[in-house]
């Protein structure tokens, strides 16, 4: 036993030279690097060039910044840009607030806690397209269950998905319905990790439940808040499948986002313009998410 442990500790002191080959070979990176490099990184870099061209997949003509100019000139493309940011802001905002509230509820001594956690989380695992189709039916302006229920109380429900002013918000609500479970479990993990001593100290100081929340839970679950915001904000900016399943960007272009514009331009054969959409989305994520991440993860202590 002693011999073994002595032998085992030798390399740590003796340095690398004792072993001729590293036990952590560089070629372990190779399969992953090859797949990731060829299928993700290469197209990403290629997109920077192709976004500056008129492109048929077989040949491309360099046209400078024309695609981008078009992106910021055509009203429906601009609306897609605005919608994307709006959608990301609404969904991440609602997920933070509702996720926090649900997590507070589900970490308290409440009846049926296990059931509630499951029921809130399950939609996360269900097919987005399935959820989209289901809610499209439920939100039907005249026959849909939501408006029929509202009618029972004498409320005339709005045209959730057919009203151009509402369509994007309706899809965002469904996104929150589907995604709030993930926000909730992230918050639960964050709240459970807060040491009990803090609450103990707060109790001795005579803190109320509200003060407990405001001065202990909220600041100490900040990493969870950062995660939820960043995750759902990126998800919101990239969103495609739910919008496509529910409105196809309609009515008109009222609920188009950049991702749905990319798909539409691709279908129409405007490959250069579609790729420019991709680059716009990279840039948007870069200028919004990077500062957001830095702001949320900045050193604490001055709150």
């Amino acid at each position: 036993m002693t011999v073994l442990s002595e032998a085992g500790s030798a390399p740590t002191h003796g340095g690398r030279r004792a072993i001729r080959r590293s036990p952590y070979p560089g070629w372990f990176f190779l399969p992953a690097a090859l797949i990731y490099g060829v299928l993700f990184l290469a197209p990403t870099f290629a997109s920077l060039y192709f976004s500056l061209t008129r492109w048929t997949l077989f040949n491309s003509t360099f046209i400078g910044l024309d695609n981008f100019a078009q992106f910021f000139r055509e009203p429906f493309l601009v609306q897609g840009l605005v919608n994307t940011v709006l959608y990301a802001a609404i969904t991440s905002g609602l997920k933070v607030v509702l996720g926090m509230l649900l997590a507070l509820l589900l970490t308290s001594a409440i009846m049926g806690r296990g059931y509630l956690r499951s029921v809130v989380f399950f939609p996360v695992l269900v097919s987005t397209v399935g959820v989209g189709i289901t809610f499209t039916v439920l939100m039907h302006p005249t026959q849909g269950m939501i408006n029929e229920t509202l009618a029972l109380f004498g409320i005339k429900g709005p045209g959730w998905l057919v009203d151009p002013r509402l369509a994007l918000f309706s899809v965002a609500l469904v996104d929150v319905w589907k995604g709030v479970g993930l926000a909730t479990v992230i918050y639960i993990a964050g709240i459970v990790a807060i040491p009990k001593d803090y609450y103990e100290a707060a109790r001795i100081d005579g803190a109320t439940r509200w003060q407990n929340f405001l001065y202990v839970t909220l600041p100490l679950s900040r990493p969870a808040t950062a995660t939820v915001i960043i995750l759902s904000f990126i998800g919101g900016l990239r969103t495609f499948d739910l919008i496509w399943a529910m409105t196809r960007g309609g009515p008109g272009f009222a609920s188009d986002t950049i991702a749905s514009v990319i798909y539409k331009q691709y279908q129409a054969g405007f490959y250069g313009l579609s790729t420019a959409g991709n680059v716009v989305l990279f840039v948007l994520i870069g200028i919004l998410v990077v500062p957001l991440t830095m702001f949320l993860n900045r050193k604490q202590g001055h709150e």
Binding site: G8, A10, P11, P43, A46, M111, T227
Partner: protein
């Protein structure tokens, strides 16, 4: 004394959650049981008769048993891509956690970029066509691997950092080759995080709609998510069939949820908090 408000609050929470989260699922199930006429009403009513079986038969046999092809395709896609993901991500996570070189910063940057940046669609199609993988199931497998790697690597790296280095060193002293150290000693120890990876990534790949839509066009290649999309126009008036379809493709995630709920939650929160 203290438990009384919680019971009251609990009952309210259960009722509200049932209304918000269970009613949509109940609606799917009820509609899948109905015949065409009753389903068209789109209401929340008890089915007139038991039509689930005939609905299933019709959904499955439509368009030359497309549903069966789709389930086979989705199964192959999920199993193949998750297997590759697990092995390749664990290898990267292992070396990344153990060996500190000047490349680590760059590698970590690329991983984070992969989590944030959406893939450039048309250039990827162009590239896939160039190497003959466009519209091929194995091409899509590699795509799913490429897009899933960053998340899996982060999960593995965090877990491997908790496994003592002395273990690898002892094995090396005993004469094991690096290959054996990893595949015979480390990889088995990673089982908990491997299960998490398998579960989270399988659900993701199985539910993936966007990538098959772009990279795997054509009815012969349909995955289950695309059947829903294809049937959406065809079943426009047959809501019973549309919802039977939704019900069928919800069963696999439901089974995963019932058996692996804990792993999913653990994986999604761990990956999220560290990412």
């Amino acid at each position: 004394m203290k438990s009384r408000p919680s019971i009251f609050l609990g009952i309210i929470a259960i009722l509200v959650s049932a209304l918000v989260f269970l009613v949509p699922f109940a609606f799917i199930i009820l509609t899948a049981f109905k015949n065409k006429q009753q389903a068209t009403l789109l209401d929340f009513s008890w089915p007139d008769g038991f039509h689930l079986w005939s609905n299933i038969v019709e959904v499955v046999t439509t368009r030359n048993w497309m549903m069966v092809t789709a389930f086979i395709n989705s199964t192959i896609l999920t199993v193949a891509s998750v297997t590759l993901l697990v092995v390749f991500a664990a290898m990267v996570g292992f070396v990344l956690a153990r060996r500190k070189t000047r490349w680590n910063g760059l590698i970590e940057f690329l991983i984070l970029a992969g989590l944030m940046i959406p893939p450039a669609v048309v250039p990827t199609i162009w590239l896939l066509q160039g190497i003959g993988l466009f519209g091929k199931l194995h091409g899509l497998v590699l795509i799913e691997v490429a897009y899933g790697l960053p998340f899996s690597i982060i999960l593995y790296r965090a877990f491997i950092a908790t496994i003592p280095r002395e273990l690898d060193e002892a094995a090396i002293i005993d004469g094991a080759r690096p290959f054996d150290v990893f595949f015979r000693i480390i990889l088995p120890l990673l089982w908990p995080v491997t299960v998490t990876n398998i579960v989270v990534q399988s659900v993701g790949v199985f539910n993936d709609f966007t990538n098959p839509l772009y990279y795997l066009p054509g009815n012969a290649n349909a995955t289950v998510q695309l059947t829903l999309y294809n049937f959406q126009s065809q079943f426009n008036t047959s809501y019973n069939l549309l919802f039977t379809n939704i019900l069928l493709i919800t069963i696999p995630p439901l089974l995963v949820f019932l058996f692996f709920n804990r792993h999913i939650v653990a994986g999604m929160t761990a990956g999220a908090v560290k990412g």
